[in-house]
């Protein structure tokens, strides 16, 4: 099962290699420069819900100071969890998060609790713990500090451009380990607060498995023995639709042996080829093509009986309807 590495880098008002160390926004409503952001690289985040005092006009734009001058992204609604972005979201396979680094400036030490969370973890049926929506931090080896911060691993020098900021707090979070999840969000626990700001720089490293998927919906009761055999051999995906496994030839060989009279598909996620057995592309639903985006579909064996292919399609659609939408955070 080959693995590949990946990196995610995001900057909001400050970025990894451009030290705008004094980045901050003015959240004191009594100050004459309220709502301005200074020394930013890219756009900071500012939450200000008062659209009466600072309206957003469709023609002239957002009247909030830092939104007007382009130094912040303004949010006009509060959130329990602010989702800045999706680091990755794999269909039916897992990634191993290995390293996380963030440097944040904010009105308060809000990042001490959070940063990333995961969802829809793959678990074996026997496991009762639910890893969904697990906050990544705190962990035993995270750290938080006011500036200047000693971070020798990331910087190989005693102090990372020491400075003080005139407003707010600085936090550096660092995490190493191995954490398995198919989905990772970059989020902050915002607690429905208003009149707050962030400037943050984040890096995440992870590895993801490259493995073919067997697309064959199985019924636990009716297909108990092959179900168990497949699951033990290939692993288990929470969706019940995709099953990460070995290589394409292995999976095709096993499926031919176990299910010579059923319809099934195998997706090669290295070549992006979807192999079809007792199927033609006519039976492959559009949502599956959108999900896997195969470069090619190859017919190993055309359907001898249309009802076999139709049964595969119906079961697949049924399973797909049961998969919760993954776009929204709770």
């Amino acid at each position: 099962m080959p693995f590949s590495s990946a990196i995610y880098h995001a900057g909001y008002g400050t970025v990894w290699n451009v030290y705008k160390s004094a980045a901050y926004c003015q959240s004191n409503t009594s100050a004459s420069d309220y709502g301005k952001c200074y020394n930013t690289a890219g756009k900071a985040i500012f939450v200000q819900t008062d659209t009466t005092t600072w309206p957003i006009d469709p023609t002239t734009g957002d009247s909030f100071p830092c939104a007007t001058d382009g130094t912040c992204t303004r949010y006009t609604t509060t959130a329990v969890t602010r989702n800045f972005g999706t680091v990755f979201n794999y269909s039916g396979k897992q990634a191993i998060v290995q390293y996380f680094w963030s440097r944040s400036h904010a009105w308060y030490n809000q990042f001490y609790y959070n940063i990333t969370n995961s969802a829809y973890g793959m678990i074996l049926p026997a496991h009762t713990a639910n890893p969904d929506h697990l906050w990544f931090l705190p962990s035993p080896n995270y750290e938080i500090s006011s500036w200047p911060v000693y971070d020798p691993v990331a910087n190989f020098k005693a102090y990372l451009n020491p400075y003080t900021i005139s407003s707010g707090y600085v936090a550096v979070l660092r995490w190493y380990g191995s954490f398995f999840t198919p989905v990772l969000y970059l989020s902050a626990w915002e607690r429905n607060l208003n009149n707050i700001w962030y400037a943050a720089d984040v890096r995440v490293f992870w590895a993801y498995e490259s493995s073919p998927l067997a697309v064959i919906p199985l019924d636990y009761d009716r297909d108990y023995v092959p179900y168990q055999e497949l699951r033990n051999a290939f692993g288990y995906a929470a969706t019940g639709v995709d099953q990460p496994g070995w290589n394409v030839d292995d999976i095709i060989r096993v499926l031919r042996e176990l299910f010579p009279d059923r319809a099934w598909a195998v997706f090669d996620d290295r070549q992006y080829v979807l192999y079809l057995y007792n199927l033609t592309p006519d039976y492959v639903p559009d949502w599956l093509v959108e999900k896997l985006t195969p470069t090619a579909m190859k017919v190993i064996q055309p359907p001898a009986d249309a009802t076999v292919a139709k049964a595969w399609l119906d079961l697949l659609n049924e399973r797909n309807a049961q998969i919760p939408p993954q776009a929204e955070l709770p």
Binding site: P281, W287, V289, T293, P294, A296, M297, K298, V299
Partner: protein
């Protein structure tokens, strides 16, 4: 004074065999031209049908 020769005619394009449409696809890191037998649309994507080198009926994503 020698008479200037007229410019040579451009080469005549080869005559396409009737019936089968040719499509260029990106395969194995390079462009290959294949004779296609049909098309199928799936979601946002269009696939062209041909028999690949492995002898399998293949539906390849169309670059057009």
């Amino acid at each position: 004074m020698s008479k200037r020769l007229p410019a040579p005619e451009p080469p005549t394009p080869p005559i396409q065999p009737p019936g089968r449409k040719k499509v260029r696809i990106r395969k194995g890191g390079r462009w290959v031209e294949v004779d296609v037998d049909g098309e199928v649309k799936k979601g946002r994507f269009k696939y062209v049908k041909f028999v690949d080198d492995d002898g399998l009926d293949t539906y390849w994503i169309s670059p057009e």
